[in-house]
């Protein structure tokens, strides 16, 4: 940003505004700066799409878990220790040979943080938010994913209260793999619906 000054230390305007808010909120007792650091650390390093991949791998290997996930994704996911701190509800949508699922948030950028971490840049950007609903097939092709014409595409628009996790189809050739090995096949994009699970090497 603005670096035309040669001062020893320079806070850019956005950083200064955040510090200003933090100062006010701390003084009012609304936040604890140490807790803010913990939240940053959690979202930078601890939560991410590996959580979601474990959910999907378990659903692939354990039919009763898959059934639970289908009926009550919030509880099934929480049983693995991944709980949304927003208290949002989760719904798992399962890809089948007939139907491919795609998740978007047209409103802003609602995203299942607890299982996928923070959204990628393109998920938050206007082209994806507007075009995923209007032309999902075209958007998927831009991601390199061309589905058979007879496959239906269902688009799920996330909200603050309800967020979606796509359960991709289990790839061919993955029979007999452990849950851990299966989880490695589950990409972030496959859980948003802009990709498929990887095939085993």
């Amino acid at each position: 940003m603005s670096s035309d000054h040669d001062h020893d230390n320079e806070l850019d305007p956005m950083a200064a505004r955040v510090r200003a808010l933090e100062t006010i909120l701390t003084q009012k007792g609304l936040i604890d700066p140490a807790a803010i650091d913990v939240i940053v650390d959690t979202y930078e390093t601890k939560v991410g799409p590996r959580n979601g991949a474990k959910v999907v791998a378990k659903a692939w290997s354990d039919p009763s878990f898959a059934d639970w996930l289908r009926r009550d994704a919030t509880a099934a996911i929480a049983s693995l220790g991944f709980t949304g701190r927003q208290g949002e509800h989760m719904r798992a949508v399962f890809n089948t040979p007939d139907t491919h699922n795609l998740v978007v948030c047209t409103l802003c950028s609602c995203y299942p943080w607890s299982v996928l971490g923070l959204p990628p840049v393109w998920y938050k950007a206007p082209p994806y938010r507007s075009r995923a609903v209007i032309d999902p097939r075209g958007v998927l092709e831009e991601f390199g994913l061309t589905l058979p014409a007879e496959t239906k595409i269902r688009v799920w628009d996330s909200t603050a209260e309800l967020r979606y996790l796509v359960v991709p189809m289990r790839p061919l050739g993955s029979e007999g793999l452990s849950e851990e090995a299966l989880a490695d096949l589950v990409t972030r994009d496959s859980m948003i619906g802009t990709g498929l699970a990887r095939e085993p090497a």
Binding site: N9, A16, R85, C108, S109, L118, W122, P126
Partner: protein, 136 residues
């Protein structure tokens, strides 16, 4: 980077799509973005606003016509949404935020390199402190 299809597919998506590159970019480009995000999470935990309220506030910002098509200004919108919500809630008024932000910038300039930037280093004094002392 196994050179498997998945990688080239992502690159192609980024190149062709009009969808921005950086599919595996870090969550935050700059520390202030992480802090703005964390403040929002903490204030929600505190019950200051619901996620619906937050989604509406953020939506108003990201839907502005001048928003960057690549989403590169996403956290600037995030911060604007947070500031407006805090103003509406009467928690932090825009003038107070402006004044404190300016104080933080003066403090930064007055702080020798390598030392932590403290608001007390502001050569013009500390508006936040004064407002607190006003109570005594």
């Amino acid at each position: 980077m196994s050179g498997r299809d998945g990688e080239s597919v992502k690159e192609r998506a980024a190149a062709q799509a009009g969808l921005p590159p950086g599919l595996d970019e870090p969550a935050f480009a700059e520390p202030w973005q992480a802090q703005a995000f964390a403040l929002t999470v903490a204030l929600h935990d505190k019950g200051l606003f619901s996620w619906s309220e937050w989604a509406n506030a953020l939506s108003l910002e990201v839907k502005r016509p001048e928003a960057a098509p690549d989403g590169g200004d996403y956290y600037e919108h995030w911060l604007a949404a947070l500031e407006k919500l805090l103003a509406v809630k009467g928690v932090a008024m825009p003038e107070a935020v402006e004044a404190l932000a300016a104080a933080w910038q003066r403090a930064a300039r007055a702080t020798p390199h390598g030392q932590p930037i403290l608001l007390e280093n502001d050569p013009e004094g500390n508006p936040a402190k004064e407002s607190m002392q006003g109570n005594s």
